[in-house]
Symmetry: none
């Protein structure tokens, strides 16, 4: 009963979620069959439907998990210590690092969102919006205190930056020439250079 192994010890729903994440990232939601997921997890379809209401639910769980994680981290950094420049830089770098560390989730996020059912899409978007708003608040804070350029549209800056972040999945390769931290630092630098009053 002791947690000795790694995959063997995981519960059935955990294994299903892990394999689904991997497969959705690999070939996309529509191209992944329920059969493939259960085979990868070593169970039968019935088991999957015992824990998840639908294939859609599985994808929704992936989203919920990553959104929860990122929201927590941003909240901690944004409300932490340091100048607004330091905090924005830290938040930007952090979302890059965690996006790279969970590259499968990142890939799924922007590729498969529109394959969710309309209601679930709405729920995810709402959560996402809250996350963006917290980030935008940092930009606005910097504008109010005169550190960031006042003529910028903060919402546009956020969309600009997160476009770059979401696209990491299309070009970043583990084992490539760049470490996660290197990319994170460069991206955060690029962001700060573009918003700071020169």
């Amino acid at each position: 009963m002791a947690d000795g192994g790694d995959t063997k010890a995981a519960t059935v729903p955990q294994r299903l979620l892990a394999e689904a994440t991997r497969l959705f990232a690999d070939r996309g939601f529509d191209r992944t069959s329920v059969q493939e997921i259960v085979e990868a997890a070593g169970v039968t379809k019935g088991a999957l439907y015992h824990y998840f209401g639908s294939k859609d639910d599985l994808l929704h769980e992936v989203y919920a998990r990553v959104l929860r994680l990122q929201t927590e981290r941003l909240e901690e950094i944004a409300s932490g210590t340091g100048t607004v420049t330091e905090r924005l830089h830290r938040a930007a770098a952090d979302v890059v690092v965690t996006s790279i560390e969970n590259l499968d989730d990142t890939k799924i996020f922007f590729r498969s969102m529109h394959q969710l059912s309309p209601e679930k899409q709405k729920a995810v978007r709402a959560e996402r919006r809250r996350y963006h708003e917290r980030f935008r608040a940092l930009v606005e804070e910097g504008q109010r205190e005169g550190t960031f350029r006042a003529e910028l549209r903060p919402d546009l800056v956020v969309d600009y930056f997160f476009g770059s972040v979401h696209h990491l999945g299309t070009w970043y390769r583990e084992g490539g020439p760049l470490s996660a931290t290197q990319v994170a630092t460069e991206f955060a630098d690029l962001l700060l250079y573009s918003v700071r009053r020169p």
Copy 2:
């Protein structure tokens, strides 16, 4: 029979391509059936398969068209007159405008690329790489002449910027508060601010 009208005059393959683009952007490649495409175009399946080898071919054509267009425009701007700052700004703003003007193609591009067959994906990526290289050359040119910051990794700058561009499809809405030109100017400004030596 003479080419007098507008929609009526479009040839069958043109109409098929137009409807396919619209539908792929709307619901994604996998969620669009061949039946829906031919119904929208007012022809039968046989006609589609007469002009296109497969559903995949249709998607490939969408990509080929937009890549051709963007490459032409970039080439013209990059090799045009003006300082490197002016040319990079112009190129960046232009790709934003054309991405917004062809928002359907933009949506398809980043959502459905991985649904192409491996060989076609490879071909599209190669073409895309050439496009990015031309853009990167502009950054390098600015670095060589001392206008842009030397410590930047030019390839990373390009990925950073095009991430933002590709994501326009997820948030930009026609009829919203921002015109294509406004977004283009802001995006190009953000880019230039982040690469220019302060």
Copy 3:
């Protein structure tokens, strides 16, 4: 915990049978899942399979209960006092009233019979036949004593009348313009008019 209430006090198998009856009548046997039954009864699947061997068994119990009831009542009436005319009228009216009072059972009876396993179907049909025979005996008694028309085929009369009775479930609505007794009287009248020597 004392048997004070009404629904709360019912035993688990009683509650299961009651909910199954309601659901089978509502949506049919095949359209009712075991899951729905146990949820309605507030127990789990294991409990159902503890008391009933199969879903089929549950349906069989419904039949057994209603057949037992009707046989008892017919027996009492047929062997009671009064002329054969009075007894046939009373029996006919009574089966209409009890069919309406147990409309769910009536609906199930003619809709779901063929969904029982072959052996159980045979058992139910045999029981049903005995019931019909007792009814038919009343008709024959009337023919022998010259009250009912001799040229009638008694078995056909029985099938004719019970067709009408079994179909009550398709059109009778509680709260409609007709009370159970009104329908019972009219149906019994129609039967007697058609069998009595004019």
Copy 4:
């Protein structure tokens, strides 16, 4: 190309409808799989769905056909020559004969109606109601002219009689002791005896 055979010559949709009718009557709608139907008809599932939108559609077609047939016949008889007694007798006997001749349809009708989708059920019921109304009009005509007993509720008489007719499928066996005409005559006699002023 000449219509030489019997089953071979029938078109694919005709064969599908014929086999579906037989199977639905045999084992009920829910117990008949689409796979069984297409195997019996010697085609594949794709072919079935080329001609029919759903399994439900197939059942609806069965209903539509039999309702059309019966309505035509009733209309012809009811508006024909003869006294109201003769016409009601003729109509009653005719519906029995055609119900026996199309016993499969009769079985399906009362067993599987509630397995149709709600909208289609509504459509069938509406058509059925029109049929009943035409029949009821005959009873009312007889009451107005004083031939039938005035105290009868005509709608109840119709439900009474058609209950018997619909139940033919549960007990009538081809090759049994009774011909269709014999049953028809007896049923019509029973009806007329019960409605005529003695």
